[in-house]
Structure formats: C-alpha cells, structure tokens
C-alpha cells in the first residue's frame, strides 16, 4: 500500500489517500524511479501558498526495493518543480488519489474529489512567467561609492518578468519563423512583419548604431535598465541589444532573459534558440560568441505597451 498526501493547505489537514492496487503502485514506483531527479527527501522551505507538492510513502515493506532508502519522497510542483514532467506526474498522483481510499488516520481531511481536482490541476504546471527583482550589481554601487556618489550605497531595484523558454512557438510554423525576427522575440510579440525598432512609434532608426537603435527602441516604449516600469506594464522583460558594426556586415540583434536563467534569441528568420555561435547555452550575452555582432550596447526593459506598439 502507498500513501499520497497533497501538500496544499495551510490551516486545514491536507488530503491523504491510500493506494491499495498493487499494480497501480508498482506502475507509479517505476515512474518515480525513472524520474528520481524530480523528487526530494524533504519539502523545500518557503514554497508559498496553493498546491506545493505531493508526499508519497509506502506503508509496508513490500515495495522497499522499488522505493529506495528514503522513508518518503516529495514531488515539488508549480514554481518549485524540478522539471517539466513534475506536472504530468502530479496529475497522475491526483488521479490515483481520487481513485484511492481516503486515509483512515486523517483528521477530517477533505477527500480529493472532482472539485479539488479542478482547483489543483491548473497549478501543477510551472508558471509561464516569473516575476523577479532586477537589482544593480554590488560592483556597480561600489564603483559609484568610490566616485563619491551620495546615492551609491542604495541599490536600484526594478520588478521585472522572465518568460519560459518556448522556442516551439517561434519555430514550428514556417510563417511565424520566417516573418519574425530578433526584435519580435525580444519583445515576445509576433507581428509577422520582421519588426523594426521605432517603426511602430513612427521614428525608425536612421543608422545601425547603439545610439540610434536604442533611441528607436525607447521611442517604441522600452526603458533603459533600472528605469522601472509600473506593474500595469507587465510583462517587463530584460533584453540586451548588440550591433554588428561592419564593415560590410551591419545589423542589430536582441537577446531576452528567460525564467530558466539563460538568454533566448532568434537570429532573423531562423529558429529561436538559447545557444551562441559556439553552441553554448547563453548565460551572459556580453561574453557569448555573437559572431559579427561584436558591439554590446546594453540592457533595456521591454513592456506590455511597447510590445503591442512594435511593427
């Protein structure tokens, strides 16, 4: 027999269900074994409100060899999930809990029924977007401190959003792939027009230089980094602008920071990706291999009105 506990409530007892069908238990344990990296021995601290995860624990020693050495395992879901399959396994656990027996030892715990299922399922997947604080690096403030700035010790912070890396949205349909460029990707807005900085606001760049492309992007509604947007302008993405200065090859390019910690980009009409010209995942667009785009212009924020303005 296997016990599953949904870690949901704060004040009330959590739903607990015992799975007695040996075949179902074995099938689940096989899935646990092949996705062991998604499970923890303890629940993570500070997992927040709403559905946080599931405990699974054998109630006898029959499944010992299949379960391993831990007395119980915890599957974090939602924002705390350790991988995309956590939501799928979480949904399977909810289904098993519905079919299982409400645990006899539970003190008036709510059974996991259809209404609770409807509440739980949408929360299992990791959110498509994270809201985080973007803060000036300590080195920047120290450098300012050395220059004697009175405001140097106070770090500047802005609240921004980081979207999930979803290259399929840009790559799977050939029209979307061919008709949207790096500025569309950075803005996370598909226009199918190969969007150009400043065209939406009526003042496109007049030269491909850091100053001109930045000016045109600000005209579309972007802000310089640490010039914060209000919450109403969410999603406020952190993006980076680079330039290929020539001679011969003159162009601009954008990167956008993703919630997974790396940066995504879309080189013109080709596939969106998170790797640089050396095939390395981009964790720092300033040091990534950018081919001919050798000039790093800086970081800006996009926002909701800016992305809807681009053309």
């Amino acid at each position: 027999m296997l016990r599953i506990t949904a870690d949901i409530f704060s004040g009330r007892p959590d739903p607990v269900s015992d799975i007695t069908d040996a075949n179902e238990v074995r099938a689940l344990l096989r899935e646990v074994d092949s996705n062991r990296n998604l499970f923890l021995g303890e629940a993570p601290a500070g997992s927040g409100l709403g559905v946080r995860g599931f405990w699974i624990e054998p109630l006898n020693d029959e499944f010992g060899s299949e379960f391993g050495t831990e007395p119980r395992l915890y599957l974090p879901v939602g924002a705390q999930a350790h991988g995309g399959r956590a939501a799928e396994i979480g949904e399977r656990l909810v289904t098993l809990m519905e079919r299982g027996e409400p645990a006899a030892s539970g003190e008036a715990a709510q059974p996991l029924d259809a209404s609770l299922r409807e509440f739980l399922i949408p929360q299992l997947a990791a959110p498509a977007r994270l809201t985080v604080t973007d803060r000036t690096a300590p080195a920047e403030t120290e450098a300012e401190a050395e220059r004697g700035s009175e405001e140097a010790t106070a770090a500047i912070t802005c609240t921004i959003e980081l979207g999930a890396f979803n290259p399929g949205f840009w790559n799977n349909d050939s029209t979307v792939r061919l008709s949207n460029n790096c500025y569309n990707y950075a803005s996370n807005w598909r226009t199918n027009t190969f969007a150009q900085p400043g065209r939406g606001c009526g003042s496109m760049y007049k030269a491909i230089t850091c100053a001109e492309v930045t000016r045109a992007s600000l005209c579309d509604g972007m802000h310089h980094r640490f010039d914060c947007f209000p919450d109403a302008e969410s999603p406020r993405y952190l993006v980076a602008l680079v330039i290929a200065p020539g001679p011969g090859f003159v162009d601009f390019h954008w990167f956008r920071k993703q919630k997974e910690g790396f940066w995504g980009h879309k080189p013109g009409p080709t596939d969106a990706r998170n790797t640089d010209n050396s095939g390395n995942v981009i964790y720092n667009p300033e040091t990534a291999n950018r081919g001919p785009y050798t000039v790093f212009c800086g970081y800006l924020y996009g926002c909701n009105s800016q992305r809807q303005r681009i053309r």
Partner: protein, 121 residues
C-alpha cells in the same frame, strides 16, 4: 525563383531573383547531388547562414537551403532531403549570380564567407 542571402537578424535579408535559365541550371545541379553524410547540417547562429531559395519550378519543393556544403530541399509536406554540396560549389555559383544585384559591401561579406577567411583586396 527568389534567392535570399541569409545574413541578418534584425534587418531584412537581401533577396534577388534568378533568371529562368539560371533557375533551370540550379535545379539540374541539385538533382545530381549525392546524399550528405549523416549529421551534415546547414550553418546556424548569428552571421552568414547560407542561401535560401523559394518559388522554384518544382511544385512540390517549398524551399531549398544551400549552406556550408549542405543542400536541404524541403517539400510542402515537411519532408526534407539533405544533399552534399562538395566544395560548396553550388553555393559559390549562387554567390556569383548574386553579384549583379547585391550591395557591394554585402557581396564582399558573402565572398569572404565562401573563401573561409578575410577577403584580399
């Protein structure tokens, strides 16, 4: 038949049209290419990525990518054939055809890429 030089990320790529005779020659050369070795793939990333041909006479071919010694022909059902362009000879031939309609600076970039090093004056 249109040929796009796949160079840029932010800007639109330059495009030129092939005359019917050049298009027919191109299709016949492609028909004679052998399959590429396993793992062969077009150039990717930032910078020059090859040439993309669309609007060809073969109704079932949607696009042909000529890039880095590889030719990829995709049909309208999504199936693709990966062929070998030994010595990048087809790519060089297309670059020669581009010379008449391409900006001299862009042409210089293209020739430099195909030469595999900086262009000598």
């Amino acid at each position: 038949m249109d040929v796009e030089i796949d160079l840029y990320s932010g800007r639109r790529n330059p495009v030129f049209s092939l005359a019917p005779e050049a298009a027919a020659e191109l299709m016949s050369r492609i028909a004679a290419l052998p399959p590429a070795p396993p793992g062969a793939a077009p150039l990717q990333g930032l910078g020059y990525r090859g040439l993309r041909i669309t609007g060809g006479p073969a109704a079932d071919i949607m696009e042909i990518v000529v890039s880095g010694g590889v030719v990829v022909a995709r049909d309208r059902n999504g199936a693709e054939r990966v062929l070998q362009d030994a010595g990048r000879s087809l790519e060089r031939r297309l670059a020669d055809l581009a010379a008449a309609s391409l900006d001299p600076a862009e042409m210089s970039v293209l020739r430099q890429e195909l030469r595999g090093g900086p262009e000598t004056p």
